[in-house]
């Protein structure tokens, strides 16, 4: 298989661990946007990276870190979009200005940048759109025209539409039609790719739920476009020590490995993630033979 992408490179700076103060809190639809006074993290952050929070305080019974994509990093502050669903994210969403939280970051590999001026399509699902804000700004600074597609189940689950609107042409979709066009981001993307002349889109970036990433990556690959997706795999540590966050990913040598989403990702080439095999152990993963899985 010839690949359209190269694996994302490591970030320039190692992460730090800090206890930081919440300096801002803003409910946004179904989410809460938290701003943290974390200058050492902010100055190291590149688009696509994430932070990992300890939740519940020092005696918490919830030991595993919660990883959240960085939406913004500027002026000594880091912004994240928290979607409360389980006990950990609900605790985070309940933090108030002045509260402190233990955070590690920035973590993971940033989105690779295309050559200057390459037109880019950014696709964000739900709160995943927030993670594309830094990327959109950097692309614009490098002269790339940017189109952002933000989609969600309903209007209250969209995020960062206004922020992206300042940097890009934005297309909004919702499953229920409560905002923008009714339908899925992939419908809008397919339409975009067919309506624009070849060469008017040079690269696709995405962040959001796995099913959406898969659809976006497949559409991009079919169109012969490189795509980079930031995955949301459940991560126990975020720093690369637990091996819980692996996905089957094709490396530069063409071989598939169980790669850590936190340190080998979260950004992977969309054509390198074997989405259909997530949750299984395919025989051709390096080391599957030692698990007793044999070639068919």
């Amino acid at each position: 298989m010839t690949s359209l992408t190269s694996p994302a490179a490591r970030a320039a700076h190692p992460p730090v661990q800090r206890v930081v103060e919440v300096s801002g809190r803003r409910p946004v639809g179904a989410y809460v946007e938290l701003t943290l006074a974390a200058p050492e993290i902010a100055e190291r952050t590149e688009p696509g990276q994430f932070v990992a929070f300890a939740v519940g305080g020092p005696t918490s019974a919830h030991l595993l870190r919660r990883s959240i994509a960085i939406a913004g990093a500027a002026d000594g502050a880091v912004t994240v979009m928290v979607a409360p669903h389980g006990p950990g994210s609900t605790w985070l969403a309940g933090l108030q200005v002045g509260d402190t939280v233990d955070v590690v970051g920035p973590l993971g590999r940033p989105y690779p940048m295309p050559s200057d001026g390459t037109p880019a399509v950014l696709v964000g699902g739900g709160y995943g759109a927030a993670a594309l804000r830094g990327l959109a700004a950097r692309l614009r600074a490098a002269g790339s025209p940017v189109i952002a597609i933000c989609g969600a189940a309903s209007a209250d689950r969209l995020s960062s539409v206004d922020e992206l609107g300042e940097l890009a042409e934005v297309i909004v979709t919702t499953d229920d039609g409560s905002a923008g066009r009714q339908g899925r981001v992939t419908d809008a993307m397919a339409e975009l790719l067919t309506s624009r002349a070849p060469g008017q889109v040079g690269v696709v970036y995405a962040c959001g739920p796995m099913a959406m990433l898969r659809a976006v990556a497949e559409a991009a690959t079919t169109a012969g476009l490189p795509s980079y997706v930031a995955v949301e795999e459940s991560m126990a540590c975020g720093v690369g020590v637990c091996m819980t966050c692996v996905l089957p990913v094709v490396g530069e040598d063409g071989r598939t490995r169980f790669s850590r989403s936190c340190t080998d990702g979260p950004v992977f080439g969309g054509d390198r993630v074997r989405f259909a095999d997530v949750g299984t152990l395919p025989w051709d993963v390096v080391g599957a033979d030692a698990m007793g899985v044999v070639a068919p």
Partner: protein, 312 residues
């Protein structure tokens, strides 16, 4: 180093190998060390206990591999790793170049595998000793876990001790999932183990009430974290009481210096911090500092004076 660190002599040993700190990583909970470099001075900790290595690269099990549980977690990683060639080529030289002590955990599915690994690790720079992970299924005994059978466990330990570098202490890592942990401890000590690491995870299960199926790809998994601490401490206590001369590397739910102190008082001469590292990547160094303070506050001049103190 803080003033309190220097006030209490924190040095200890793994068998005959001296270490400056009694706090180590736990196998499988700090990869092979490098990922913790931004958070911890790896040269100052007791040792990096590396992820259990086997003869060949292993993919590990499919996901999901983890479920959070009250004060702990269930994992079924399946010993993903590069195999001994990768460890010798990349990870151990990385640690040795920085002067980081490595306590290498080895695993296998037959006695010969363990012996072959011990052989490959002879004289390797930076390798302080071996931890033998016998919580693996024995292919020659219908998959029964070595650690659950005193005879099979002893066979592994004596085979490893016979070929291992004489300068490298060999610790047998025990499973708590046995009816008589003292019996297994006696057997492996008699087979030549220089010390005992205890405990490995307890077998557990979580079912997702929505899908109504087990959460983990591997169905069952190993339970770890503070939830298992009393079980681990009881195991250390019982074995130290039966064999006070056998060194113990204690682990199971250690999160703070006071947790580590309990293990020391029960009879551990060193401890590993595992799951707590996922919560706090600097936990190993923090536990060292907190333990030093706790010992000083209780009037101990050295860590060694506190080992087994609760049995008096």
């Amino acid at each position: 180093m803080t003033a309190l660190d220097t006030a209490v002599d924190m040095s200890t040993a793994l068998g005959a190998a001296p270490i400056p700190s009694p706090v180590l990583t736990a196998s499988g909970c700090s990869a092979n060390g490098a990922e913790l470099e931004p958070f911890v001075d790896l040269t100052a900790i007791g040792a990096v206990v590396t992820k259990s290595v086997q003869l060949w690269p292993r993919s590990g099990r499919p996901t999901p591999r983890m479920a959070e549980t009250p004060s702990g977690m269930l994992n079924s990683i399946g010993l993903q790793g590069p195999g001994i060639d990768g460890l010798l080529a990349d990870d151990l030289p990385w640690l040795a170049d920085r002067g980081v002590r490595a306590f290498v955990s080895i695993a296998g599915t037959r006695v010969e595998d363990f012996a072959a690994l011990a052989e490959r690790l002879r004289g390797v720079p930076g390798v302080l000793g071996l931890e033998v992970n016998i919580s693996c299924p024995n292919v020659e005994s219908r998959g029964e876990v070595f650690a659950c059978d005193p005879v099979a466990a002893s066979d592994v330990v004596s085979a490893v001790r016979a070929v291992a570098d004489p300068a490298q202490p060999v610790y047998a890592k025990l499973s708590p999932d046995v009816t008589d942990i003292v019996g297994v401890a006696r057997a492996v000590s008699a087979a030549g183990a220089d010390g005992l690491s205890m405990i490995n995870t307890l077998l557990g299960l979580v079912i997702d009430p929505d899908t109504m199926r087990p959460v983990l790809g591997g169905v069952t998994g190993g339970l770890s974290g503070p939830a298992i601490r009393p079980v681990a401490l009881r195991c250390v206590w019982q074995v130290h009481q039966a064999m006070p001369e056998v060194p113990i590397l204690g682990m199971g739910g250690i999160r703070s210096g006071l947790d580590a102190l309990q293990f020391v008082l029960a009879g551990a001469s060193a401890v590993s911090v595992g799951t707590a590292v996922f919560n706090d990547p600097s936990a190993v160094a923090r536990v060292h500092d907190e333990l030093a303070v706790a010992l000083a506050e209780r009037g101990f001049a050295s860590l060694r004076d506190a080992v087994g103190y609760a049995h008096r």
